[in-house]
Amino acid sequence: MKGPVLAVVELQGAGPVRPSLEALGQAAALARRLETQAWALAVGPRAASCAALLGRYGAQRVMAGGVAGSERLCALLFTDAVEPSIRELRPQAVLFAATPWGSERAARLAARLGVDLAGAITSWRATDPGTLRVSRSVYGGRLVEELEFTDRVPWMLTLRPNIFPLGPAASGRIPEPVPLEVPPPGSSCCRLLEVIVSSRAEPPLAEAAVVVSGGRGMGGSKPFSILRDLAEALGGAVGASRAAVDAGWMPPERQVGQTGTVVSPKLYVACGISGAMQHRAGIRDSRFIAAINTDPEAPIFRFADAGVVGDLFEVVPRLTEAARGKRRETLEKA
Protein backbone atom coordinates (compact mmCIF):
# COMPACT_ATOMS: atom_id res chain seq x y z
CA MET A 1 0.00 0.00 0.00
CA LYS A 2 1.04 3.58 -0.70
CA GLY A 3 2.21 5.80 2.13
CA PRO A 4 -0.37 8.24 3.50
CA VAL A 5 -0.87 11.86 2.47
CA LEU A 6 0.20 14.07 5.36
CA ALA A 7 -1.03 17.60 6.09
CA VAL A 8 1.17 19.59 8.48
CA VAL A 9 -1.13 21.88 10.43
CA GLU A 10 -0.30 25.33 11.84
CA LEU A 11 -1.77 26.03 15.27
CA GLN A 12 -2.47 29.48 16.59
CA GLY A 13 -4.13 30.18 19.92
CA ALA A 14 -7.00 27.77 20.33
CA GLY A 15 -6.69 25.75 17.15
CA PRO A 16 -5.60 25.27 13.55
CA VAL A 17 -5.53 28.23 11.16
CA ARG A 18 -8.00 28.18 8.28
CA PRO A 19 -5.42 27.81 5.46
CA SER A 20 -4.16 24.63 7.19
CA LEU A 21 -7.69 23.22 7.20
CA GLU A 22 -7.91 24.00 3.48
CA ALA A 23 -4.65 22.07 2.99
CA LEU A 24 -5.99 19.19 5.11
CA GLY A 25 -9.09 19.03 2.89
CA GLN A 26 -6.86 18.70 -0.19
CA ALA A 27 -4.72 16.09 1.58
CA ALA A 28 -7.92 14.08 2.12
CA ALA A 29 -8.91 14.52 -1.54
CA LEU A 30 -5.45 13.47 -2.77
CA ALA A 31 -5.48 10.48 -0.39
CA ARG A 32 -8.81 9.33 -1.83
CA ARG A 33 -7.40 9.68 -5.35
CA LEU A 34 -4.34 7.61 -4.39
CA GLU A 35 -6.42 5.15 -2.36
CA THR A 36 -4.50 5.77 0.81
CA GLN A 37 -5.03 7.47 4.19
CA ALA A 38 -4.97 11.16 5.08
CA TRP A 39 -2.92 12.05 8.16
CA ALA A 40 -2.49 15.33 9.97
CA LEU A 41 0.52 16.45 12.02
CA ALA A 42 0.26 19.26 14.57
CA VAL A 43 2.80 20.70 16.97
CA GLY A 44 1.66 22.73 19.96
CA PRO A 45 0.59 22.44 23.59
CA ARG A 46 -3.02 21.69 22.67
CA ALA A 47 -2.27 19.76 19.49
CA ALA A 48 -3.70 16.46 20.75
CA SER A 49 -6.99 18.11 21.71
CA CYS A 50 -7.42 19.27 18.08
CA ALA A 51 -7.66 15.66 16.88
CA ALA A 52 -11.47 15.65 16.74
CA LEU A 53 -11.54 18.89 14.75
CA LEU A 54 -8.85 17.67 12.36
CA GLY A 55 -10.86 14.47 11.95
CA ARG A 56 -13.89 16.47 10.88
CA TYR A 57 -11.82 18.24 8.22
CA GLY A 58 -10.55 15.02 6.71
CA ALA A 59 -7.75 13.52 8.86
CA GLN A 60 -7.98 9.77 9.49
CA ARG A 61 -4.96 9.74 11.82
CA VAL A 62 -3.38 12.60 13.77
CA MET A 63 0.21 12.91 14.98
CA ALA A 64 0.41 15.48 17.75
CA GLY A 65 2.78 16.69 20.43
CA GLY A 66 4.37 19.69 22.05
CA VAL A 67 4.57 21.87 25.13
CA ALA A 68 3.81 25.54 25.77
CA GLY A 69 5.39 27.66 23.04
CA SER A 70 6.14 24.79 20.68
CA GLU A 71 3.58 26.01 18.14
CA ARG A 72 6.19 28.73 17.58
CA LEU A 73 9.20 26.44 17.54
CA CYS A 74 11.81 27.81 15.11
CA ALA A 75 11.98 26.12 11.71
CA LEU A 76 15.27 24.36 12.53
CA LEU A 77 14.00 22.71 15.74
CA PHE A 78 10.62 22.03 14.16
CA THR A 79 12.35 20.12 11.36
CA ASP A 80 14.48 18.23 13.90
CA ALA A 81 11.31 17.30 15.77
CA VAL A 82 9.16 16.07 12.88
CA GLU A 83 11.80 14.57 10.56
CA PRO A 84 12.14 11.13 12.27
CA SER A 85 8.36 10.57 12.39
CA ILE A 86 7.91 11.63 8.77
CA ARG A 87 10.75 9.37 7.61
CA GLU A 88 9.15 6.49 9.48
CA LEU A 89 5.70 7.27 8.06
CA ARG A 90 7.06 7.35 4.47
CA PRO A 91 4.23 9.58 3.19
CA GLN A 92 3.38 9.80 -0.48
CA ALA A 93 2.87 13.56 -0.16
CA VAL A 94 3.34 16.27 2.49
CA LEU A 95 1.11 19.37 2.34
CA PHE A 96 1.46 22.68 4.19
CA ALA A 97 -0.53 25.89 3.83
CA ALA A 98 1.55 28.60 2.10
CA THR A 99 1.40 30.90 5.14
CA PRO A 100 4.64 32.44 6.46
CA TRP A 101 4.77 29.68 9.10
CA GLY A 102 4.11 26.88 6.62
CA SER A 103 6.28 28.15 3.76
CA GLU A 104 9.52 28.37 5.74
CA ARG A 105 9.01 25.03 7.49
CA ALA A 106 8.02 23.22 4.28
CA ALA A 107 11.15 24.54 2.51
CA ARG A 108 13.41 23.46 5.37
CA LEU A 109 11.79 20.02 5.70
CA ALA A 110 12.03 19.41 1.92
CA ALA A 111 15.73 20.31 2.03
CA ARG A 112 16.23 17.94 5.00
CA LEU A 113 14.46 15.12 3.15
CA GLY A 114 16.30 15.96 -0.07
CA VAL A 115 13.15 16.31 -2.16
CA ASP A 116 11.71 19.10 -4.32
CA LEU A 117 8.91 21.35 -3.15
CA ALA A 118 6.25 23.09 -5.24
CA GLY A 119 5.30 26.26 -3.38
CA ALA A 120 2.00 28.16 -3.21
CA ILE A 121 0.18 25.94 -5.67
CA THR A 122 -3.29 26.93 -6.89
CA SER A 123 -4.41 23.58 -8.36
CA TRP A 124 -3.32 19.94 -8.61
CA ARG A 125 -4.27 16.77 -10.43
CA ALA A 126 -3.00 13.23 -10.02
CA THR A 127 -2.75 12.28 -13.68
CA ASP A 128 -1.95 8.63 -13.16
CA PRO A 129 -1.01 6.93 -9.91
CA GLY A 130 2.72 7.64 -10.28
CA THR A 131 2.66 11.37 -11.02
CA LEU A 132 1.23 14.62 -9.74
CA ARG A 133 0.81 17.84 -11.71
CA VAL A 134 0.45 21.18 -9.95
CA SER A 135 -0.03 24.78 -11.11
CA ARG A 136 1.48 27.87 -9.53
CA SER A 137 1.96 31.55 -10.30
CA VAL A 138 5.41 32.73 -11.32
CA TYR A 139 6.85 36.14 -12.26
CA GLY A 140 4.61 37.82 -9.70
CA GLY A 141 1.47 36.35 -11.25
CA ARG A 142 2.34 37.32 -14.82
CA LEU A 143 2.75 33.68 -15.87
CA VAL A 144 1.48 30.32 -14.62
CA GLU A 145 3.66 27.22 -14.63
CA GLU A 146 2.63 23.61 -14.42
CA LEU A 147 5.06 21.27 -12.68
CA GLU A 148 5.15 17.50 -12.67
CA PHE A 149 6.45 15.36 -9.83
CA THR A 150 7.97 12.00 -10.67
CA ASP A 151 7.92 8.91 -8.51
CA ARG A 152 10.48 10.28 -6.02
CA VAL A 153 8.45 10.81 -2.83
CA PRO A 154 7.27 12.50 -0.75
CA TRP A 155 5.81 15.07 -3.11
CA MET A 156 6.00 18.27 -1.11
CA LEU A 157 3.52 21.08 -1.62
CA THR A 158 2.42 24.30 -0.05
CA LEU A 159 -1.10 25.50 -0.93
CA ARG A 160 -1.99 29.13 -1.54
CA PRO A 161 -4.59 30.24 1.06
CA ASN A 162 -8.16 31.03 -0.07
CA ILE A 163 -7.95 28.99 -3.26
CA PHE A 164 -9.16 25.61 -2.05
CA PRO A 165 -12.50 25.05 -0.30
CA LEU A 166 -12.61 23.79 3.28
CA GLY A 167 -12.57 20.01 3.56
CA PRO A 168 -15.36 17.53 4.17
CA ALA A 169 -16.25 18.68 7.73
CA ALA A 170 -18.01 15.32 8.00
CA SER A 171 -18.69 13.71 11.34
CA GLY A 172 -16.08 11.01 10.81
CA ARG A 173 -14.75 9.06 13.72
CA ILE A 174 -12.35 10.84 16.05
CA PRO A 175 -8.80 9.91 15.11
CA GLU A 176 -6.64 8.58 17.94
CA PRO A 177 -3.68 10.99 18.38
CA VAL A 178 -0.29 9.40 17.78
CA PRO A 179 2.17 11.06 20.19
CA LEU A 180 5.06 13.06 18.74
CA GLU A 181 8.25 13.93 20.67
CA VAL A 182 8.87 17.69 20.46
CA PRO A 183 11.80 19.55 22.08
CA PRO A 184 11.06 22.59 24.27
CA PRO A 185 11.35 25.92 22.42
CA GLY A 186 13.99 27.19 24.87
CA SER A 187 16.68 25.01 23.28
CA SER A 188 16.71 27.03 20.04
CA CYS A 189 19.42 29.52 19.09
CA CYS A 190 16.63 31.53 17.46
CA ARG A 191 14.55 32.99 20.26
CA LEU A 192 11.16 34.66 19.88
CA LEU A 193 11.32 37.74 22.10
CA GLU A 194 8.02 39.40 21.41
CA VAL A 195 4.90 39.11 19.27
CA ILE A 196 3.63 42.49 18.14
CA VAL A 197 -0.03 42.10 17.18
CA SER A 198 -1.60 44.73 14.97
CA SER A 199 -4.13 46.69 17.04
CA ARG A 200 -6.89 46.20 14.50
CA ALA A 201 -8.67 42.86 14.36
CA GLU A 202 -8.23 42.31 10.67
CA PRO A 203 -7.36 39.09 8.81
CA PRO A 204 -3.89 38.89 7.21
CA LEU A 205 -3.96 40.14 3.60
CA ALA A 206 -2.97 36.78 2.09
CA GLU A 207 -5.80 35.00 3.92
CA ALA A 208 -8.58 37.62 3.83
CA ALA A 209 -11.80 36.73 2.00
CA VAL A 210 -12.26 40.41 1.14
CA VAL A 211 -9.52 42.98 0.45
CA VAL A 212 -10.27 46.69 -0.01
CA SER A 213 -7.24 48.55 -1.40
CA GLY A 214 -6.40 52.16 -2.02
CA GLY A 215 -3.93 53.72 -4.42
CA ARG A 216 -2.64 57.09 -5.50
CA GLY A 217 -6.24 58.34 -5.75
CA MET A 218 -6.51 58.24 -1.93
CA GLY A 219 -4.34 61.38 -1.76
CA GLY A 220 -3.04 60.73 1.78
CA SER A 221 -3.04 58.40 4.76
CA LYS A 222 -6.10 59.83 6.55
CA PRO A 223 -8.62 59.01 3.77
CA PHE A 224 -7.78 55.32 4.22
CA SER A 225 -10.24 55.41 7.13
CA ILE A 226 -13.13 55.19 4.63
CA LEU A 227 -11.56 52.01 3.24
CA ARG A 228 -11.26 50.61 6.77
CA ASP A 229 -14.98 51.24 7.27
CA LEU A 230 -15.80 49.42 4.03
CA ALA A 231 -13.44 46.55 4.86
CA GLU A 232 -15.06 46.22 8.25
CA ALA A 233 -18.58 46.19 6.75
CA LEU A 234 -17.51 43.47 4.29
CA GLY A 235 -15.47 41.52 6.86
CA GLY A 236 -12.15 42.07 5.10
CA ALA A 237 -8.70 43.63 5.28
CA VAL A 238 -7.28 46.91 3.96
CA GLY A 239 -4.52 46.86 1.37
CA ALA A 240 -2.64 49.49 -0.60
CA SER A 241 -0.96 49.85 -3.96
CA ARG A 242 2.79 50.25 -4.15
CA ALA A 243 2.32 53.95 -4.97
CA ALA A 244 0.39 54.46 -1.72
CA VAL A 245 3.08 52.63 0.28
CA ASP A 246 5.90 54.50 -1.50
CA ALA A 247 4.14 57.74 -0.53
CA GLY A 248 4.20 56.61 3.11
CA TRP A 249 0.40 56.55 3.44
CA MET A 250 0.33 52.88 4.41
CA PRO A 251 2.97 50.55 5.97
CA PRO A 252 4.80 47.98 3.77
CA GLU A 253 2.90 45.01 5.26
CA ARG A 254 -0.26 46.39 3.62
CA GLN A 255 1.21 46.48 0.10
CA VAL A 256 -0.63 44.32 -2.44
CA GLY A 257 1.15 42.99 -5.52
CA GLN A 258 4.76 42.24 -6.32
CA THR A 259 7.24 43.17 -3.55
CA GLY A 260 4.16 43.15 -1.34
CA THR A 261 1.60 40.41 -0.77
CA VAL A 262 0.02 38.41 -3.58
CA VAL A 263 -3.64 38.10 -2.63
CA SER A 264 -6.40 35.71 -3.67
CA PRO A 265 -9.58 36.90 -1.92
CA LYS A 266 -13.13 36.19 -3.00
CA LEU A 267 -13.68 39.92 -3.45
CA TYR A 268 -11.07 42.57 -4.25
CA VAL A 269 -12.11 46.24 -4.29
CA ALA A 270 -9.56 48.57 -5.93
CA CYS A 271 -10.14 52.23 -5.02
CA GLY A 272 -8.19 54.94 -6.81
CA ILE A 273 -5.74 52.37 -8.21
CA SER A 274 -4.76 52.77 -11.86
CA GLY A 275 -3.56 49.15 -12.11
CA ALA A 276 0.17 48.91 -12.84
CA MET A 277 1.43 45.53 -14.06
CA GLN A 278 2.86 44.52 -10.66
CA HIS A 279 -0.47 45.25 -9.00
CA ARG A 280 -2.68 43.53 -11.56
CA ALA A 281 -0.53 40.41 -11.47
CA GLY A 282 -0.68 40.32 -7.67
CA ILE A 283 -4.50 40.25 -7.55
CA ARG A 284 -5.07 37.93 -10.51
CA ASP A 285 -6.33 35.00 -8.45
CA SER A 286 -9.11 37.07 -6.84
CA ARG A 287 -12.54 35.61 -7.55
CA PHE A 288 -14.24 38.99 -8.20
CA ILE A 289 -12.49 42.32 -8.81
CA ALA A 290 -14.36 45.61 -8.46
CA ALA A 291 -12.69 48.92 -9.37
CA ILE A 292 -13.61 52.49 -8.50
CA ASN A 293 -11.68 55.21 -10.31
CA THR A 294 -12.37 58.68 -11.70
CA ASP A 295 -10.38 57.94 -14.86
CA PRO A 296 -12.45 55.84 -17.30
CA GLU A 297 -9.23 54.97 -19.15
CA ALA A 298 -7.51 53.46 -16.05
CA PRO A 299 -6.05 50.02 -16.99
CA ILE A 300 -7.60 48.49 -13.84
CA PHE A 301 -11.06 48.58 -15.48
CA ARG A 302 -10.03 46.18 -18.26
CA PHE A 303 -8.91 43.79 -15.57
CA ALA A 304 -12.01 44.11 -13.36
CA ASP A 305 -15.29 42.21 -13.26
CA ALA A 306 -17.14 45.40 -12.40
CA GLY A 307 -16.17 49.04 -12.49
CA VAL A 308 -17.58 52.32 -11.28
CA VAL A 309 -16.25 55.49 -12.91
CA GLY A 310 -16.63 58.00 -10.15
CA ASP A 311 -15.16 59.75 -7.15
CA LEU A 312 -14.20 57.11 -4.62
CA PHE A 313 -14.86 59.58 -1.79
CA GLU A 314 -18.51 59.59 -2.83
CA VAL A 315 -18.91 55.97 -3.92
CA VAL A 316 -17.04 54.18 -1.09
CA PRO A 317 -19.09 55.64 1.81
CA ARG A 318 -22.33 54.75 -0.06
CA LEU A 319 -20.99 51.25 -0.64
CA THR A 320 -20.20 50.96 3.08
CA GLU A 321 -23.74 52.11 3.96
CA ALA A 322 -25.27 49.61 1.55
CA ALA A 323 -23.05 46.78 2.86
CA ARG A 324 -23.98 47.60 6.47
CA GLY A 325 -27.66 47.66 5.48
CA LYS A 326 -27.36 44.28 3.83
CA ARG A 327 -25.56 42.84 6.85
CA ARG A 328 -28.35 44.07 9.16
CA GLU A 329 -30.93 42.48 6.86
CA THR A 330 -29.09 39.16 6.93
CA LEU A 331 -28.79 39.28 10.72
CA GLU A 332 -32.50 40.05 11.13
CA LYS A 333 -33.45 37.15 8.84
CA ALA A 334 -31.24 34.85 10.86
Partner: protein, 270 residues
Protein backbone atom coordinates in the same frame (compact mmCIF):
# COMPACT_ATOMS: atom_id res chain seq x y z
CA UNK B 1 32.60 40.04 10.16
CA UNK B 2 31.53 38.79 6.77
CA UNK B 3 28.00 39.17 5.41
CA UNK B 4 27.20 37.26 2.23
CA UNK B 5 24.23 38.55 0.26
CA UNK B 6 22.64 36.20 -2.27
CA UNK B 7 21.70 38.08 -5.39
CA UNK B 8 19.58 37.00 -8.34
CA UNK B 9 18.95 38.74 -11.62
CA UNK B 10 15.32 38.79 -12.79
CA UNK B 11 13.44 40.38 -15.70
CA UNK B 12 11.97 43.83 -15.09
CA UNK B 13 9.07 43.35 -12.67
CA UNK B 14 6.84 45.85 -14.50
CA UNK B 15 7.16 44.28 -17.97
CA UNK B 16 4.45 42.22 -19.59
CA UNK B 17 5.70 38.68 -20.22
CA UNK B 18 4.75 35.99 -22.69
CA UNK B 19 5.68 32.34 -22.70
CA UNK B 20 7.35 30.52 -25.57
CA UNK B 21 7.49 26.81 -24.89
CA UNK B 22 8.66 26.34 -21.32
CA UNK B 23 10.51 29.65 -21.01
CA UNK B 24 9.31 33.24 -20.76
CA UNK B 25 9.94 35.61 -23.62
CA UNK B 26 11.64 38.64 -22.12
CA UNK B 27 11.54 40.73 -25.27
CA UNK B 28 13.32 44.00 -24.68
CA UNK B 29 12.73 44.04 -20.94
CA UNK B 30 15.65 45.02 -18.77
CA UNK B 31 17.27 42.67 -16.28
CA UNK B 32 17.15 43.98 -12.71
CA UNK B 33 18.26 42.83 -9.27
CA UNK B 34 15.52 40.74 -7.64
CA UNK B 35 13.83 43.44 -5.53
CA UNK B 36 13.72 41.20 -2.44
CA UNK B 37 17.49 40.64 -2.69
CA UNK B 38 17.90 44.40 -2.93
CA UNK B 39 16.08 44.72 0.42
CA UNK B 40 18.55 42.15 1.84
CA UNK B 41 21.58 44.03 0.49
CA UNK B 42 20.26 47.32 1.86
CA UNK B 43 19.87 45.66 5.28
CA UNK B 44 23.47 44.39 5.13
CA UNK B 45 24.78 47.84 4.22
CA UNK B 46 22.84 49.41 7.09
CA UNK B 47 24.16 46.81 9.51
CA UNK B 48 27.72 47.74 8.46
CA UNK B 49 26.98 51.46 8.69
CA UNK B 50 25.56 50.99 12.20
CA UNK B 51 29.11 50.13 13.31
CA UNK B 52 27.97 46.99 15.15
CA UNK B 53 29.02 44.61 12.40
CA UNK B 54 32.78 45.11 13.01
CA UNK B 55 32.68 42.53 15.79
CA UNK B 56 35.21 39.72 15.30
CA UNK B 57 33.89 36.58 13.72
CA UNK B 58 32.03 34.29 16.12
CA UNK B 59 32.78 31.37 13.83
CA UNK B 60 35.59 29.54 15.67
CA UNK B 61 38.65 29.65 13.46
CA UNK B 62 36.45 30.76 10.61
CA UNK B 63 37.58 33.25 8.02
CA UNK B 64 35.08 35.79 9.22
CA UNK B 65 37.16 38.74 8.10
CA UNK B 66 39.77 40.67 10.03
CA UNK B 67 38.78 42.15 13.37
CA UNK B 68 37.35 45.61 13.13
CA UNK B 69 36.05 45.30 9.62
CA UNK B 70 32.90 44.15 7.90
CA UNK B 71 33.02 42.72 4.43
CA UNK B 72 29.92 42.37 2.25
CA UNK B 73 30.23 39.72 -0.46
CA UNK B 74 27.65 39.20 -3.19
CA UNK B 75 27.06 35.58 -4.17
CA UNK B 76 25.09 34.77 -7.27
CA UNK B 77 24.28 31.79 -9.44
CA UNK B 78 23.15 32.25 -12.97
CA UNK B 79 23.53 30.56 -16.32
CA UNK B 80 22.76 33.77 -18.17
CA UNK B 81 25.03 36.81 -17.89
CA UNK B 82 24.46 38.54 -14.56
CA UNK B 83 26.60 41.62 -15.10
CA UNK B 84 23.82 44.14 -14.49
CA UNK B 85 22.72 42.69 -11.15
CA UNK B 86 26.25 42.18 -9.83
CA UNK B 87 27.35 45.60 -10.97
CA UNK B 88 24.33 47.24 -9.35
CA UNK B 89 25.01 45.39 -6.09
CA UNK B 90 28.64 46.47 -6.10
CA UNK B 91 27.60 50.05 -6.85
CA UNK B 92 25.19 49.95 -3.90
CA UNK B 93 28.17 49.21 -1.65
CA UNK B 94 29.11 45.51 -1.62
CA UNK B 95 32.89 44.91 -1.57
CA UNK B 96 33.19 42.05 -4.04
CA UNK B 97 31.22 39.37 -5.82
CA UNK B 98 31.43 35.62 -6.35
CA UNK B 99 29.56 34.41 -9.43
CA UNK B 100 28.81 30.68 -9.67
CA UNK B 101 28.49 29.82 -13.34
CA UNK B 102 26.65 26.59 -14.23
CA UNK B 103 28.10 24.44 -16.99
CA UNK B 104 24.75 24.23 -18.80
CA UNK B 105 21.81 26.55 -19.34
CA UNK B 106 19.23 24.14 -17.88
CA UNK B 107 16.75 25.46 -15.32
CA UNK B 108 17.66 24.66 -11.73
CA UNK B 109 15.13 23.86 -9.03
CA UNK B 110 15.43 25.72 -5.72
CA UNK B 111 16.90 22.60 -4.07
CA UNK B 112 19.78 22.40 -6.56
CA UNK B 113 20.31 26.17 -6.44
CA UNK B 114 20.31 26.31 -2.64
CA UNK B 115 22.69 23.39 -2.22
CA UNK B 116 25.21 24.73 -4.73
CA UNK B 117 25.03 28.22 -3.19
CA UNK B 118 25.68 26.63 0.21
CA UNK B 119 28.81 24.92 -1.16
CA UNK B 120 30.08 28.29 -2.40
CA UNK B 121 29.19 29.91 0.94
CA UNK B 122 31.16 27.25 2.87
CA UNK B 123 34.33 28.47 1.15
CA UNK B 124 33.57 32.05 2.27
CA UNK B 125 32.67 31.31 5.94
CA UNK B 126 30.05 34.03 6.43
CA UNK B 127 28.76 35.15 9.82
CA UNK B 128 25.50 36.15 8.20
CA UNK B 129 23.81 35.16 4.95
CA UNK B 130 21.15 37.59 3.74
CA UNK B 131 18.81 37.06 0.80
CA UNK B 132 15.38 38.02 -0.44
CA UNK B 133 12.48 36.00 0.92
CA UNK B 134 11.75 35.01 -2.66
CA UNK B 135 12.74 35.89 -6.21
CA UNK B 136 10.43 37.83 -8.50
CA UNK B 137 10.76 35.16 -11.20
CA UNK B 138 10.21 31.64 -9.80
CA UNK B 139 8.54 32.97 -6.59
CA UNK B 140 9.76 29.87 -4.79
CA UNK B 141 10.67 31.37 -1.38
CA UNK B 142 12.85 28.32 -0.71
CA UNK B 143 16.51 29.18 -1.27
CA UNK B 144 17.02 30.85 2.14
CA UNK B 145 15.76 27.84 4.15
CA UNK B 146 17.57 25.37 1.85
CA UNK B 147 20.87 27.24 2.29
CA UNK B 148 20.32 27.37 6.06
CA UNK B 149 19.66 23.62 6.12
CA UNK B 150 22.71 22.85 3.98
CA UNK B 151 24.89 25.01 6.26
CA UNK B 152 23.24 23.50 9.37
CA UNK B 153 22.33 26.92 10.82
CA UNK B 154 19.12 28.64 11.93
CA UNK B 155 16.94 30.66 9.57
CA UNK B 156 15.06 33.89 10.19
CA UNK B 157 12.42 34.47 7.51
CA UNK B 158 10.30 37.43 6.45
CA UNK B 159 12.60 40.06 8.00
CA UNK B 160 11.60 43.71 7.61
CA UNK B 161 14.48 45.21 9.58
CA UNK B 162 17.54 43.86 11.35
CA UNK B 163 20.21 44.95 13.82
CA UNK B 164 23.12 43.33 15.66
CA UNK B 165 22.92 42.65 19.37
CA UNK B 166 26.17 43.00 21.29
CA UNK B 167 27.71 41.22 23.05
CA UNK B 168 26.94 37.98 21.36
CA UNK B 169 26.70 38.93 18.65
CA UNK B 170 23.19 37.93 17.65
CA UNK B 171 20.91 39.04 14.86
CA UNK B 172 17.93 40.96 16.16
CA UNK B 173 15.17 40.94 13.56
CA UNK B 174 11.62 42.11 13.12
CA UNK B 175 9.78 39.51 11.03
CA UNK B 176 6.43 39.89 9.34
CA UNK B 177 3.95 37.12 10.18
CA UNK B 178 0.73 37.86 8.35
CA UNK B 179 -0.88 40.50 10.50
CA UNK B 180 1.62 40.61 13.32
CA UNK B 181 5.35 40.92 13.78
CA UNK B 182 7.76 38.63 15.56
CA UNK B 183 10.78 40.19 17.24
CA UNK B 184 13.45 37.48 17.29
CA UNK B 185 17.06 37.14 18.38
CA UNK B 186 19.16 34.58 16.56
CA UNK B 187 22.72 33.47 17.28
CA UNK B 188 25.34 33.65 14.52
CA UNK B 189 25.95 32.29 11.98
CA UNK B 190 22.45 32.30 10.50
CA UNK B 191 20.50 32.92 7.32
CA UNK B 192 17.97 35.77 7.13
CA UNK B 193 15.44 36.32 4.32
CA UNK B 194 14.07 39.80 3.68
CA UNK B 195 10.83 41.48 2.68
CA UNK B 196 10.14 45.12 1.95
CA UNK B 197 10.62 47.01 5.20
CA UNK B 198 10.73 50.66 6.20
CA UNK B 199 14.17 51.19 4.58
CA UNK B 200 14.12 51.29 0.79
CA UNK B 201 17.22 50.30 -1.22
CA UNK B 202 19.57 53.19 -1.99
CA UNK B 203 20.38 54.54 -5.43
CA UNK B 204 24.13 54.43 -6.13
CA UNK B 205 25.81 57.78 -6.77
CA UNK B 206 28.00 58.41 -9.83
CA UNK B 207 31.09 57.95 -7.65
CA UNK B 208 29.74 54.60 -6.41
CA UNK B 209 29.12 53.50 -9.98
CA UNK B 210 32.66 54.37 -11.05
CA UNK B 211 34.25 52.66 -8.05
CA UNK B 212 32.14 49.54 -8.63
CA UNK B 213 34.05 48.94 -11.84
CA UNK B 214 37.23 48.41 -9.81
CA UNK B 215 35.74 45.85 -7.39
CA UNK B 216 36.75 42.19 -7.76
CA UNK B 217 34.36 39.68 -9.34
CA UNK B 218 35.42 36.06 -8.90
CA UNK B 219 33.87 33.43 -11.18
CA UNK B 220 33.66 29.72 -10.39
CA UNK B 221 32.16 26.91 -12.49
CA UNK B 222 29.49 24.78 -10.81
CA UNK B 223 27.17 21.91 -11.70
CA UNK B 224 24.12 20.48 -9.91
CA UNK B 225 24.69 17.36 -7.82
CA UNK B 226 21.45 15.62 -8.79
CA UNK B 227 18.74 15.34 -11.40
CA UNK B 228 15.55 17.10 -10.37
CA UNK B 229 12.38 15.12 -9.70
CA UNK B 230 10.23 18.15 -10.43
CA UNK B 231 10.00 19.47 -13.96
CA UNK B 232 8.07 22.22 -15.68
CA UNK B 233 5.60 20.83 -18.20
CA UNK B 234 3.89 24.04 -19.27
CA UNK B 235 4.16 27.80 -18.96
CA UNK B 236 1.31 30.09 -19.96
CA UNK B 237 0.26 33.71 -19.73
CA UNK B 238 -3.11 33.73 -17.93
CA UNK B 239 -5.99 35.69 -19.49
CA UNK B 240 -5.66 39.31 -18.41
CA UNK B 241 -9.00 40.83 -19.19
CA UNK B 242 -12.21 40.19 -17.30
CA UNK B 243 -15.94 40.89 -17.72
CA UNK B 244 -15.52 44.61 -16.90
CA UNK B 245 -19.18 45.40 -16.47
CA UNK B 246 -19.29 49.17 -16.12
CA UNK B 247 -21.83 50.55 -13.68
CA UNK B 248 -23.18 54.03 -14.35
CA UNK B 249 -25.31 56.44 -12.39
CA UNK B 250 -24.96 58.57 -9.26
CA UNK B 251 -22.78 57.47 -6.36
CA UNK B 252 -25.64 55.99 -4.35
CA UNK B 253 -27.20 54.04 -7.23
CA UNK B 254 -23.82 52.89 -8.51
CA UNK B 255 -22.81 51.71 -5.03
CA UNK B 256 -26.05 49.75 -4.59
CA UNK B 257 -25.79 48.24 -8.07
CA UNK B 258 -22.18 47.24 -7.44
CA UNK B 259 -23.04 45.59 -4.13
CA UNK B 260 -25.94 43.69 -5.73
CA UNK B 261 -23.66 42.47 -8.52
CA UNK B 262 -21.04 41.38 -5.96
CA UNK B 263 -23.68 39.52 -3.95
CA UNK B 264 -24.90 37.68 -7.03
CA UNK B 265 -21.36 36.75 -8.06
CA UNK B 266 -19.52 35.71 -4.88
CA UNK B 267 -20.35 34.62 -1.36
CA UNK B 268 -17.71 36.37 0.74
CA UNK B 269 -18.68 34.61 3.95
CA UNK B 270 -18.26 31.02 2.74
Amino acid sequence: MRICVLLKQVPDTSARLQAVGLEPLFGGCLPVVNPYDEFALEAALRLRESGAAVHPSPVPGGPGGPEGSCEIVLVTLCAAPVEEAVFHGLAMGADRAVVAEPSSGARWTPLETGRVLAEVLKTLGPDLVFCGEKAADDEAAQVGPIVAEALGVAQVCGVESAALELPGPALRARCRRGNSFHEVSCGLPCVATFLRGPALPRYPSMADIFSAKEKPVHRIPVSPARVSALRRVSLTAPPEERGRKMIRGGAREAAQALLDLIDRSVDCRA
